[in-house]
């Protein structure tokens, strides 16, 4: 058996695939998040730097703030100076601001004076933050793409301008992360930083995530294995029990566990089936035992009869008697096998969709039993209706013959047997009532059992096997009818046989 053939194997395979998919999804999302966060911090810093640089690159003197930052506000130079003064000491390193650009002008002039020749002056504080070009640096291009200044070697490519806005944009260049923007006057200001460390950090985070994922997958698969084993264990147990039962230990039962669980319900269903199977087997075994017992009795008789008579020389009359006895036993065996065969056939039969007329059937059977009825001294009265019933005429005939035969047999001379019928739209009931000895209450529940005889000694010597009523019951069941009995010991017995009325006849 391939491992993928087992439910456990397939469960695990699917679990593994599912887990791997979910984990890699999560891992990728987490990785992306980490990356975004990492670059977001960097980008924020770069964006700040680029805006500061662009301010300074504009070459705005302390008063130039008017042009750069609040061009719409126009002059007001002295007012602006005040806060700049505070920054004064820092700027000293660069020797202050480029004076020629000092005079303020309206913004439209600004572009005309595009300061190609201007020197790029950057405050030392910003310079410190911008870096020395090794791990971080900057570049400023004039409008058109000529480099105005950069401390980066090599100088990065001039960024292509996507729109005409002045938004800060970002790009990767190798391990570098760069922020750039185009100012209103068309200059491009770029600040970059080496992101190797962040990328390495990201890689490490990726490896950690991957390892964690593999770990979770392993734990998940292990748990899945355990769960599958655990939940399949009752199934294994069931199949073992079922195998033992199929090997013949019919009394074994599948352990049910909790009866409301899925497997519990399955186990209950299986046990019900096994119960039926076992009782069917028991019935069959009992029947076989009974049948063989019944057949052995006449066989024993024949053998002992023959052996006794042959053990020495005897008179002719002795031989004759022995042969007669053997014949009697043989006839008994023949009748018994006929009855057994009849029973076996009826029990195996399915009710075919045929119909018969009950009154004619009853009359035929009474006629057939005529000589026996006459010799018994019992009067048989009838009160019959003409009804077409669903069922098999031969089976119905057997039922009537058996019931009538029994009634006559158990009724003393001078007694009376009445066959009457009642019907409604669905059923017709044939009642066979006698004034005979009745059936004792303790025998009543058993009389339809095969080989059940209320008086064993007498019935056996009379050649009655206790199969007649079993045959009746089997016949009625085959035709979808029923048979019932009630009896008062000493005053008589009443059998009620119920067939379905043929609806087409109504």
């Amino acid at each position: 058996m391939k491992w993928t053939d087992s439910i456990r194997g397939r469960l695990l395979l699917w679990l593994g695939l599912l887990l791997a998919a979910v984990l890699s999804g999560f891992g990728m999302a987490a990785y992306q998040l980490q990356r975004t966060q990492l670059f977001a911090g960097m980008d924020e810093e770069l964006a700040e730097l680029v805006s500061q640089l662009s301010q300074e690159a504009r070459g705005t003197p302390p008063s130039g703030g008017r042009e750069g930052r609040e061009p719409g506000f126009g002059g007001g130079g002295p007012g602006e100076r005040m806060p700049r003064d505070r920054e004064g000491p820092d700027r000293d390193g660069f020797g202050g601001f480029d004076e020629p650009f000092g005079p303020p002008g309206p913004p439209p002039d600004f572009e005309d004076r595009s300061p190609d020749d201007r020197e790029l002056k950057i405050s030392s504080e910003l310079m410190k933050r911008l870096g020395d070009g090794q791990e971080a640096g900057f570049a400023v291009w004039r409008r058109g793409g000529t480099l105005r200044g950069s401390n980066l070697i090599p100088v990065p490519n001039y960024p292509s301008r996507a729109g005409h806005d002045t938004l800060v944009r970002f790009r990767h260049r190798g391990h570098w992360r760069e922020a750039y923007h185009f100012t209103e006057i068309g200059e491009c200001v770029l600040v970059g930083r080496d992101g190797s460390e962040e990328i390495a950090e990201l890689h490490r985070a990726g490896i950690r995530l991957g390892l964690a994922g593999v770990g979770v997958l392993a734990i998940g698969l292990g748990g899945g294995w355990w769960l599958a084993t655990r939940s399949l264990q009752p199934i294994d147990e069931m199949s073992r029990t079922a195998r033992r039962i199929s090997e013949g230990r019919l009394s074994e039962r599948v352990p049910v566990g909790s009866p409301d669980s899925e497997l519990g319900r399955l186990a209950t269903v299986m046990n019900t089936t096994f119960d039926r199977l076992e009782s069917a087997f028991d019935r069959q075994r009992q029947f076989t035992a009974d049948a063989s017992h019944e057949l052995r009795t006449p066989l024993t008789l024949m053998i002992s009869e023959a052996q006794t008579v042959l053990s020495r020389d005897r008179a002719a009359a002795d031989y004759r008697e022995a042969v007669e006895q053997c014949l009697e036993a043989a006839v008994r065996m023949r009748d018994l096998t006929a009855s057994l065969l009849q029973l076996a056939r009826i029990e195996g039969e399915l009710g075919e969709a045929s119909t018969f007329e009950l009154r004619a059937c009853v009359r035929t059977e009474i006629e057939a039993l005529g000589p026996r009825i006459e010799s018994s001294g019992v009067r048989v009265d009838t009160d019959l209706l003409e009804v077409v019933c669903l069922g098999d005429a031969i089976r119905a005939g057997r039922v009537v013959a058996n019931l009538l035969g029994n009634a006559v047999h158990h009724t003393p001379p001078g007694g009376r047997v009445v066959l009457s019928m009642e019907r409604d739209d669905v059923f017709v009931v044939l009642v066979v009532e006698d004034t005979g000895s009745g059936i004792a209450a303790e025998d009543l529940p058993h009389i339809f059992e095969r080989f059940y005889r209320a008086d064993k000694v007498r019935s056996r010597s009379e050649g009655r096997f206790g199969l007649g009523l079993a045959i009746c019951k089997a016949a009625m069941e085959a035709d979808g009818g029923s048979i019932m009995v009630s009896s008062k010991p000493g005053s008589g017995t009443r059998f009620e046989v119920r067939w379905k009325v043929d609806e087409a006849e109504c």
């Binding site: 035992a289 009795t297 024993t300 053998i303 002992s304 064993k456």
Partner: protein, 216 residues
């Protein structure tokens, strides 16, 4: 030798009884379990042939109740040969077990064996000095020569030999060997014993005055 046969099938009971009588046994036959138990308790039998399926009381029940009081050997007859049945029969105290349909010669042989074992005789031959009783062939030999005895004479010798060393009363002999009433034929046994002494040897059967007979 007196045998009780309990069998509910009338013709089989008749046949068994006839066959056993023809073998020289005294036979009592009853068709019901309760009657069988009653007989077995009231009288002493040398063996009981007991059917299992019986009206009144079944064979197991008869056997169980009998064993509380008596050790009479029992041969069970049954139509069921399932192993549990056999085990049950032997465990309940049956001495042997036969499944129907049985062979009559086998039944007779087993019955002889059961009786012999019960009398403590392992073999089917009882030696009384120069006289030998062959239980199987129902014959008495003297110095290796067959002695011709009548059926009743042989039965007396057999019974006394089986109960060797024990005093057997006349009543016992009448009941278990002759199946006859002791009062009516009081001197018949004396006649038979006289004949036996003449055919075998005078001192084989010892008479105890007023009590009975004995083979020492």
């Amino acid at each position: 030798m007196k045998i009780l046969v309990v069998e509910d099938e009338p013709r089989l009971l008749y046949n068994l009884s006839r066959a056993l009588r023809e073998e020289g046994y005294v036979v009592e036959g009853v068709p019901r379990g309760d009657e069988g138990l009653h007989q077995a308790m009231e009288q002493d039998f040398d063996a009981i042939v007991l059917d299992v399926m019986l009206p009144g009381l079944d064979g197991w029940e008869v056997l169980e109740r009998l064993r509380r009081k008596k050790e009479t050997p029992v041969l069970m007859l049954t139509a069921r040969d399932a192993l549990p049945d056999r085990v049950r029969g032997l465990d309940a105290g049956a001495d042997d077990y036969l499944v129907k349909p049985f062979d009559l010669p086998e039944l007779l042989a087993r019955l002889r064996a059961v009786i012999r074992r019960h009398a403590g005789k392992g073999s089917s031959v009882i030696e009384l000095g120069d006289t030998v009783v062959d239980l199987k062939r129902r014959q008495v030999l003297r110095d290796g020569e067959g002695v011709s005895l009548t059926a009743r004479e042989y039965a007396i010798v057999e019974f006394l030999a089986m109960h060797r060393g024990r005093l057997v009363t006349r009543t016992e002999l009448y009941e278990r060997v002759f199946d006859e009433n002791a009062d009516t034929l009081s001197n018949v046994i004396d006649v038979h014993v006289f004949a036996i002494r003449k055919k075998l040897r005078p001192d084989l059967i010892v008479t105890r005055r007023g009590q009975g007979y004995c083979i020492e």
